[in-house]
């Protein structure tokens, strides 16, 4: 049973060039970002140096695999390049998705929203005909001019979700009424030339940028969709992300990913020009064009129906996931239940100080744990304010002391966290054991409810 207008919509075809350009830029960007990541020594620093790794629930089995971790990165890098040039598209997008996601799942200490976005986009590309043309070394006759319109719209919808939910998340009392955490962050950028020591110290600037950021996030997807405002919107995209890059250099690849992704909102003529331009460049270097000229109307790989259904389920899931926090009690910014995978970008300034006490009940021995013996500084910093990290690490400590011969082990936590400039508060009840208590019990009974309320919609 398909409604007529959906059926009609599915039949609409549109030039494929936006998807092709997206695939090329996306692949190149991932390719270069892996090189960047590698050259900064982060593979070693983030995945090989630590002896302990924080895992995502249900993905505890995904860990760095010693020296072979480099092989995963290498495979990911090559597959990204293959996606860009369109070599064995279906296989290379699959490998890109799997390797990139494996990397992200190895240790949640490194979780970033835009890494997550890259994983999602890579997943979608597997099922979208980004290989409609402009391919290298393809045996199949696989150039076709038109693709179903929904394939391009699906990426637009994901970007819409990203921006819109990011904007919705900013509608909270800290962001709008206190201008936090931007106030803290902007004031600490005092060394920026021209405005760092003046404008960024001013109260009204903090509010202006908080409200501006919220309005930007909420409106930009609409402005990009509407043809008349598209160029203006794209300029706004560039300005906004350039600004975030200047103010927050540590934001990494995020601005580039968003700017390049937003190009997909432009019509096919614009993308045809880009393809033409790239073709010229390639021809300049190679006398024989690498581009397949053959025409094929059929989509290779998965059937259209399967692809469509998968993408639909996927996007529905993406619509629901960010609002799952509504089902958890307590202050979201404090207990962070349902915080990740929800486009909450730059919403909280948190720092914590967390120490663990191991108690051998049978022999009545008590001592503190030296976090540094198990965690890198980066891991310790991340662990110190995130309850699920603390819970996981406490249970790891409990296990490891039990296996060392300690009896009836209890793990007590002293944890203090500061949130958006408020004084640090105790996060977890003092003098209670959190080793081997269930996760639900931990959230329910052991986390001290935050004494402030941050209003959200």
């Amino acid at each position: 049973m398909v409604l007529p207008f959906i059926k009609n919509y599915l039949e609409i075809r549109t030039p494929s060039s936006p998807l092709v350009v997206f695939r090329i830029f996306f692949g190149l960007l991932i390719f270069f970002s892996i090189i960047r990541f590698w050259s900064k020594g982060w593979i070693d620093f983030l995945y090989l140096e630590p002896t302990y790794h924080f895992s995502y629930q249900y993905f505890e089995w995904i860990k760095p695999i010693g020296f072979y971790t480099y092989l995963i990165f290498f495979t990911c890098m090559i597959s990204a390049l293959c996606v860009a040039i369109g070599y064995k598209y279906r296989i290379s997008t699959s490998i890109l998705f799997l390797t990139y996601t494996y990397i992200e799942l190895m240790d949640k200490t490194t979780y970033l929203n835009h890494y997550y976005l890259v994983s999602l986009l890579a997943f979608m590309l597997i099922f979208l005909p980004g290989d409609s043309k402009f391919l290298v070394g393809s045996h199949k006759k696989s150039r076709f001019e038109n693709v179903p319109k929904w394939t391009i719209d699906s990426i637009k919808l994901l970007l819409f979700i990203v921006y819109f939910y990011a904007g919705m998340a900013k509608i909270n009392s800290d962001w709008l009424l206190e201008a936090q955490p931007l106030k803290i962050w902007l004031m600490s950028k005092y060394e920026l030339p021209l405005f760092g020591d003046n404008l960024l110290q001013k109260n009204w600037v903090h509010y202006f940028m908080s409200w501006g950021g919220m309005l930007y996030d909420l409106s930009i997807p609409f402005l990009l969709i509407i043809r008349r405002t598209r160029i203006f919107a794209f300029i706004m995209v560039i300005i906004f992300h350039a600004m975030t890059k200047i103010l927050f250099p540590a934001i990494g690849m995020f601005p580039y990913i968003m700017v390049i992704s937003c190009l997909i909102f432009f019509d096919s003529k614009f993308h045809d020009k880009i393809i033409e331009f790239i073709s010229k460049c390639i021809k300049f270097f190679n006398k024989r064009s690498l581009i397949s000229r053959k025409v094929n109307i059929t989509n290779s790989g998965f059937s259209k129906k399967i692809s469509f259904n998968i993408i639909c389920i996927f996007l529905a899931f993406q619509l629901i996931l960010p609002i799952r926090y509504k089902f958890y009690p307590g202050e979201l910014f404090w207990n962070e239940r349902g915080y990740r995978f929800s486009w909450r970008v730059m919403l909280v300034e948190k720092k914590g100080y967390t120490t663990f006490k191991v108690i051998d009940k049978e022999n009545n021995k008590i001592f503190y744990v030296d976090n540094e013996a198990y965690l890198t500084e980066f891991q310790e910093k991340q662990m110190s304010f995130q309850p699920d990290f603390i819970y996981e690490f406490a249970n790891y400590l409990g296990d490891s002391y039990t296996s060392k011969g300690f009896r009836n082990v209890e793990i007590h936590v002293d944890s203090y966290v500061t949130l958006n400039g408020r004084r640090s508060e105790r996060l977890i009840k003092a003098d209670t054991n959190i080793y081997k208590v269930g996760k639900a019990i931990f959230y329910k009974n052991h986390i001290i409810p935050y004494k402030y309320e941050i209003k959200k919609i």
Partner: protein
């Protein structure tokens, strides 16, 4: 299409300039970090180093006297000069910055417990190089500096008479090693002090919020010293907070009754640095982390919480016996309570203060969002 790009770029640049240039306020209403750095450097860091330098030189003079006239009276003078110099050191250890960091000044001055076997071995080593001490080659670090002086002045015999006798006979070159270690401390201190004086202006004006700026390094060093140098080394390790009690790991173990005095001095140094108190005064406060926090803190509660926690730690330490190793052996609970009191400040410094300042504890070079 080229036109579009042109328009985009023109708009991009014109917009950004429009947004920024006309609105610059001629009145600089930001916190003046330069004045803070100036106060901290000129009124605290340099005078602390100068004070240490002069106290070490006094010690050196007494040492010459002791070498020529090895008497109990002169040993007593030497010991009291040692205490004065060791106390002066407590004001210096937290500034592990610039030249100090480069030459491993801290590691060469105050790594305890002293490695007695190494000290003895060094005395008979003609090619001894005390500069062979770094984080990767730590062996000689615990065979020089104040802990070694402590051992030589208090630990080479069972009682004062036998110690004096050891020096008189000097069959194992104690005097020479005492002299070598003293000269090294003096020359290291001069290197650090001279370098800082020569680069004072550059030092003061490095106020950016970056990994390499002196302001951020001072913030980090301060927090690090309070947590590691004071809380961990002086109290936590001997009290066995992480493992088991190690009473012989207290500072100045051989003199026995100096550990409390040194810890109080270190705590006072921290509080005074935090409040910008000019060196040698009790309440002549200049611009400091405290004022900076007051500027940043919308709640206006943090600096007084930190000062209260300093004071609370002080009264906890005051309740301990003069010798921490005795305290650990006799009533370790009090040591642990002192540790908990010091811990409160660590919490405020590491989470609240660093969060407000926008300074990272560790400077992990990784992306964020």
């Amino acid at each position: 299409m080229k036109k579009y790009f042109l328009i985009i770029f023109i708009l991009f640049f014109s917009c950004s300039e429009d947004n920024n240039l006309p609105e610059i306020d001629p009145v600089d209403d930001s916190y003046n970090r330069f004045i803070m750095m100036e106060n901290l450097t000129e009124n605290i860091i340099i005078p602390s180093l100068e004070n240490l330098d002069s106290k070490l030189k006094t010690f050196n003079t007494s040492l010459s006297l002791f070498n020529s006239d090895t008497s109990m009276d002169n040993l007593s003078v030497l010991r009291s000069d040692f205490l004065v110099a060791y106390k002066a050191w407590q004001y210096v250890e937290m500034f592990n910055i610039g030249k100090a960091e480069e030459i491993y000044y801290n590691l060469k001055s105050n790594v305890y417990p002293v490695n007695v076997a190494r000290v003895i071995a060094n005395m008979n080593n003609p090619s001894l190089d005390l500069d062979d001490c770094s984080d990767t080659r730590p062996n000689n670090c615990s065979a020089q500096g104040f802990p070694t002086l402590d051992y030589l002045l208090y630990g080479i015999g069972d009682n004062d008479d036998s110690i004096l006798l050891e020096f008189k006979n000097d069959s194992v070159n104690y005097k020479e090693y005492l002299n070598t270690v003293t000269q090294k401390l003096i020359s290291n201190t001069s290197i650090v002090l001279d370098d800082l004086k020569a680069n004072k202006n550059n030092f003061i004006s490095s106020t950016d919020n970056t990994m390499t700026s002196n302001l951020n390094m001072l913030v980090n060093d301060f927090v690090y010293y309070y947590e590691k140098g004071l809380r961990t080394n002086k109290i936590g390790i001997p009290a066995g907070v992480w493992t088991f009690k190690i009473p012989e790991n207290v500072e100045s173990f051989y003199a026995q009754d100096l550990s409390k005095e040194l810890a109080l001095e270190a705590l006072s140094a921290c509080k005074k640095f935090f409040m910008g108190t000019k060196f040698g005064t009790e309440s002549d406060h200049g611009e400091s982390f405290k004022n900076y926090i007051d500027y940043l803190d919308t709640e206006n509660t943090l600096s007084s919480l930190i000062i209260d926690s300093f004071d609370n730690s002080k009264s906890e330490i005051n309740g301990l016996s003069a010798s921490f190793s005795n305290q650990v052996n006799n009533d370790n609970i009090k040591m642990l309570e002192t540790f908990d009191a010091l811990q409160v400040t660590v919490r405020y410094l590491k989470s609240d203060m660093l969060s407000l300042m926008g300074v990272d504890v560790d400077y992990v070079d990784a992306d964020g969002d």
